[in-house]
Each structure stands twice: as structure tokens, then as C-alpha cells.
Amino acid sequence: MVEATAATWRLVAAQLAPVIGARGFEVLFGRALHMTSTTFPWLVVSADHGGSESPLPRLERCLARQDPATAAKASYTLLLKFTELLMTLIGESLTARLLAPVWAGPSLSSTQESAL
């Protein structure tokens, strides 16, 4: 589960970083983490760790500490929040276009398509 989530996020980052920059992706990711942490408070602790480390490994460690059902729920919510955030900024159609390879990817695809 954790590995699948990490793979999805690596794909999202690979899609977005060239367009909006690695820093731009991290800012969005941080914001999505923050919004998700209102439901899953254990995520906020990890987001507060030092700024230099890439946020993805931190997310992985956080998820690994939870039971798989909770981790899956949190990672689904996080992806949903992130997509919503991107949609409010650059609109639905552009978001769908930029993230198309993510939905086409092997993991989480069916659930996320319905989320869009």
C-alpha cells in the first residue's frame, strides 16, 4: 500500500515538477498535507519536520506507522485534496490533462478516476 502510494506520488511529481517546478510541487503537496491533517492529525507532525528533506519519504514513513486501512484512507484523501487544490488553481481541464498519466498508471487508477 505504502509503496503504491509512493509510486503514485512519484508519478505526480514527475508530471508536475517540469511544469510548475519542484518547489511549486512541494508547496502544493505541503498544502494538501496540511489540509488532510485536519482529518488525519498524525500527518501534520511529519509535515512539520525540517524543510530540507523531500516530503515524499516523510509521507512514506508516516503511512508505514499506521494500519493499512487508515493509511489507505489518508493517502486517498491526500491525493483528492491535492487534485482539488490544483483544480482551484489551474482549472479542471488543465489538471486533468497534466495528471492524465497518473490516472492511467497502474496504481489507484480506478478510485481516482471516480474522484475526478
Partner: protein, 498 residues
């Protein structure tokens, strides 16, 4: 057959820009788009990119520091030209901020090279070049200098068979960056603010291999994107698109629609002439101009009116409104205060072509001057001259009205000295006779034609302008206080008037 290279020119997709550039964007050219923040550089680049990018000619858009790409995408998609279908299909955005922040231009160039080789774009954009320049200050020793970087980039880009654009900020005359020499094209954007009006202008400072439109060209940014209004050329070399709609200057005369006035003009207004009707407020200039259009409509000639003053429905006789509704007269009615004359001329010429108009009314020059952005007022006379020249080139017959302050001490026809621009002049005045305000008019000038020189009283009735008899029995009419001339002086008075 010539074995010289043929430079293919790409249609930029920006209305008016191709004419300004002198025929479009040369393929494989290396161009700079410069201007202060907010002048429309990124919008121009995007508009060109969305118009030109296809699957066969994909575009790469490198974003450097400056505007965060998220914001750019958020705002640029508000424009009609932004087609998200094209993103990732034929347009790719690449963010270079990580490479640029190191200040190591070898890395930046390597990354650009890598992307260009991988994607083989036909179009390359780098936004913005100013932020590259700023980063140059912290670059490590021993690496490519900024100047070398830009030059390398320019060389690479032309070698890659890509039409490329560097977008940057300030252009200072005192310290022109060496890249300006390298570039094939240089488009400078600017916005000038004068009191409450803002005017956007662009200037093509350089475009190798083609004759660009000289000077500042105004443009507007609307939800559709950028539209440029190139300066009207008096003699367009592209005559095919400017074929005369109306009859070019011939010996034919145009009836002006006021009984008696044609005779005063020597048999009507010569076709293709421009006539100025000058007079104080309320003297009947608009009514005369309306009659001119109505007469055209009666003879099956379409007309166009540019109205800056009273709303056309307020006219008394056959209203402009009726003629516009019937599709016989085209109307440009504007009260915005930030127009450029070129913009009006652009719309006007378009409408003349569309309506196949033969008669044009501009009511009035005074309103026109107010509607024109203050930035252009200094050049109003010059622009007016160009406008009249462009219109007469089209072969239309023009009537322009002009508000004239009623001064009785001097004889003037227009506040801008525009009198010399026109081929014919009718002046209207108020005079006092027997404690009544009366209107008089006279034909002051009809170039190359005999005309009446009488001062004629006229009335405005529901049927229009009714011209009365010459006021032979009075003298000192133009002083505003006419006196009945005694019989012996009467002869002299007439002689004086003639």
C-alpha cells in the same frame, strides 16, 4: 528559378501583429519580447504559441524564475486562445528554476538542450530572460557567463530549426544587452499611463529581413487576447487588400442632401473629398451630416458614421438610428476615453469594407479628440491627417464636423488647424438680426472647384435644413452684430463679401 533561401513567414495568430512585423514571424528566427512587468509579454508569447503549436510543430515553453508557473497557467487560461487540449499534446511547459537558481548556466543550457533534443520543438519560448540575468550575479566562477549563455542559446536555437522567443524585462537605451545584437527580432512592449487612461503600445525595433511598421503601434488586451492596431499606412504596399470600395476621386459630384447646398458647393461635393463642417454648438452640424448620409441611403449608397457626440437617436430628421437599424449605415459609437486613432481607423476601415460604404461621417472631431487617450492628443493633428489620407485612399466621401467656439473677433474653422487637411469647408455661425439669433452658413472652400461665397441664412425645421436667401442687406455679419447696410454702402458691402 532563384536558388536563394526562402524565408517562410508564420502567421502569429495575433490580429494586427503580422502587419506590424511586415508579414509575419520569420521561421527559425530568434526573437526577443521585452517590456516592463504587466506590459503583456507572456500573453503575447502564449497567444503566438497557442496559434502556432501543432503536433507537427510542437512548442516548448521554458519557465524560469519570475512568475510562478502555477499563476501563469491560472491566469493565461482566462484568454480565449488558451486551449488546454494542446497542452501535453503539442505544448510542453518546462520549469527551469532549479537549474537557474544554481547560477550555473552550463547546467541551464544542458537542460534546455536535453529537452529540445528529446522533444524536437518547432517553437521554443524562454520566460523570462530578466530573471536569468538577475541570477547571473551569483554564478560560480569558471562557468559560462550570461552573455556567452545567451549567445550559445541563440546559436543552438537556430541550429535546432526552431522559431524561438526569449521573454525579458527592461530595455534600457543606455545599456543595450549584447543579446539584442544576436536576436533576429526585437519586439518591445510598453504601457503608458496618463492621468486616468492607460495605453498599451508595441514597437518592433528589429526584424531581420523584412520591413516592419515603424513607430509605436497601439494594442489592446481583451479576453480574446492581444489585438494590435497597426498605424494606418497612407499608401499600403499591399494594395490587393486595400482596393477602393467607393469610387476613387473622379469628376463625379456627391449630393449632400440639403436643398440648395449642392449649388453652393458648385454642383455637389466632389466625390472622394473630405469636407469639414465647422460651427458652434447647436448650429446644425450633426443634422447636416445626417442629411448627407440619408441622401446616400436614398441613392442606395451605404454609409458609416463614427459618433462621439449625442446619441444618434436624438437626431431630429431621418435618424441615424433608423438607418443603422435598416443596415444602411454602419455605426461606430464610442465614448471610451482611451482610444488610439489607429484603433478607430482600424475599425472604421473594416466597417467601410464590410458595408461597401461610400459616405463616411465623423461627428465630431471635438468629441474624437476627447475620446482619444491623452497620450495621443499631442499627435492628434498628425493622426487626423493620416486618417483623412487613408479614408480618401479608399475613395469614400467624408464629412467631418467640428465644434467651433463662436468668436466674433477672428475667423476660425477648426481648433486643430485641421482646416487645411480637408478639401472643402462649410462654416456655420450664429448672428443677431433684429434681436433674434439666426443661423448662417457659407461655403469657405471647395478645392479645385468654383463655389458660392455667399453667407446664407438657414433654418432647422422638422424637414431638415432649409437654406434661405443671401443676406445681402446686412454687413458686419461675422462680427455677430449685423447692421442693415445703407443703400450706397450696400454695394460696397457686397463687394467686400465677394
Amino acid at each position: 528559378m532563384s536558388d536563394k533561401v526562402t524565408i517562410c513567414r508564420l502567421a502569429s495568430g495575433v490580429p494586427g501583429l503580422d502587419a506590424t512585423l511586415g508579414g509575419g514571424l520569420p521561421e527559425f528566427s530568434f526573437n526577443l519580447i521585452v517590456g516592463p512587468p504587466g506590459s503583456g509579454k507572456t500573453t503575447l508569447a502564449h497567444q503566438i504559441m497557442f496559434a502556432l503549436a501543432t503536433k507537427e510543430r510542437p512548442a516548448l515553453f521554458f519557465t524560469v524564475l519570475g512568475e510562478p508557473p502555477l499563476k501563469m497557467l491560472r491566469y493565461q487560461q482566462q484568454f480565449a486562445f488558451f486551449d488546454s487540449q494542446k497542452i501535453s499534446e503539442s505544448i510542453r511547459f518546462v520549469n527551469l528554476s532549479d537549474e537557474v537558481s544554481t547560477g550555473n548556466f552550463d547546467e541551464v543550457l544542458a537542460r534546455i538542450t536535453k529537452e529540445v533534443e528529446a522533444y524536437s520543438p518547432g517553437l521554443v519560448f524562454v520566460d523570462s530572460f530578466r530573471s536569468v540575468m538577475l541570477e547571473a550575479r551569483n554564478q560560480p566562477q569558471g562557468t559560462l557567463s550570461l552573455q556567452q549563455f545567451i549567445q550559445q542559446l541563440g546559436i543552438h536555437l537556430s541550429g535546432w530549426q526552431a522559431t524561438s522567443f526569449l521573454i525579458g524585462e527592461y530595455l534600457t537605451n543606455s545599456d543595450p544587452h549584447p543579446v539584442f545584437t544576436v536576436a533576429d527580432g526585437l519586439i518591445s512592449l510598453d504601457q503608458s499611463i496618463h492621468r486616468n487612461s492607460m495605453v498599451r503600445q508595441m514597437q518592433v525595433l528589429k526584424m531581420r529581413g523584412q520591413a516592419t511598421r515603424p513607430g509605436m503601434q497601439t494594442f489592446r488586451i481583451s479576453s480574446a487576447g492581444i489585438e494590435v492596431f497597426p498605424t494606418a499606412l497612407v499608401r499600403d504596399d499591399n494594395t490587393a487588400t486595400l482596393e477602393p470600395v467607393g469610387s476613387r476621386r473622379t469628376k463625379a459630384r456627391v449630393a449632400v442632401g440639403v436643398p440648395g447646398l449642392d449649388e453652393m458647393l458648385g454642383g455637389g461635393l466632389p466625390s472622394g473629398y473630405s469636407m469639414l463642417v465647422a460651427g458652434p454648438s447647436g448650429s446644425g452640424k450633426t443634422i447636416l451630416a445626417t442629411a448627407f448620409l440619408a441622401e446616400g441611403v436614398r441613392r442606395g449608397e451605404a454609409g458609416v458614421i463614427v459618433a462621439f457626440e449625442q446619441t444618434p437617436s436624438q437626431s431630429r430628421t431621418t435618424t441615424i438610428d433608423d438607418m443603422v437599424r435598416a443596415g444602411q449605415v454602419g455605426l461606430i459609437n464610442t465614448r471610451s476615453l482611451d482610444l488610439s486613432i489607429d484603433e478607430i481607423v482600424h475599425h472604421l476601415v473594416g466597417l467601410i469594407h464590410k458595408m461597401k460604404a461610400k459616405r463616411v461621417v465623423i461627428d465630431s472631431l471635438s468629441g474624437f479628440e476627447l475620446a482619444v487617450a491623452p497620450t495621443f492628443r499631442e499627435d492628434f493633428r498628425e493622426s487626423l491627417f493620416r486618417m483623412v489620407a487613408v479614408l480618401s485612399d479608399l475613395g469614400v466621401t467624408i464629412v467631418m464636423t467640428s465644434e467651433l467656439e463662436d468668436r466674433y473677433t477672428d475667423l476660425r474653422f477648426s481648433p486643430y488647424g485641421s482646416a487645411f487637411l480637408t478639401d472643402a469647408i462649410i462654416v456655420q455661425r450664429y448672428i443677431e438680426i433684429e434681436s433674434h439669433f439666426k443661423r448662417v452658413l457659407a461655403v469657405v472652400k471647395v478645392r479645385g472647384s468654383a463655389h458660392s461665397n455667399e453667407l446664407r441664412q438657414f433654418e432647422i425645421t422638422d424637414a431638415g435644413i432649409i437654406i434661405g436667401d443671401p443676406l445681402g442687406d446686412y454687413e458686419g455679419l461675422l462680427s455677430g452684430r449685423a447692421t442693415l447696410a445703407p443703400p450706397p454702402v450696400k454695394v460696397l458691402g457686397r463687394a467686400k463679401l465677394r
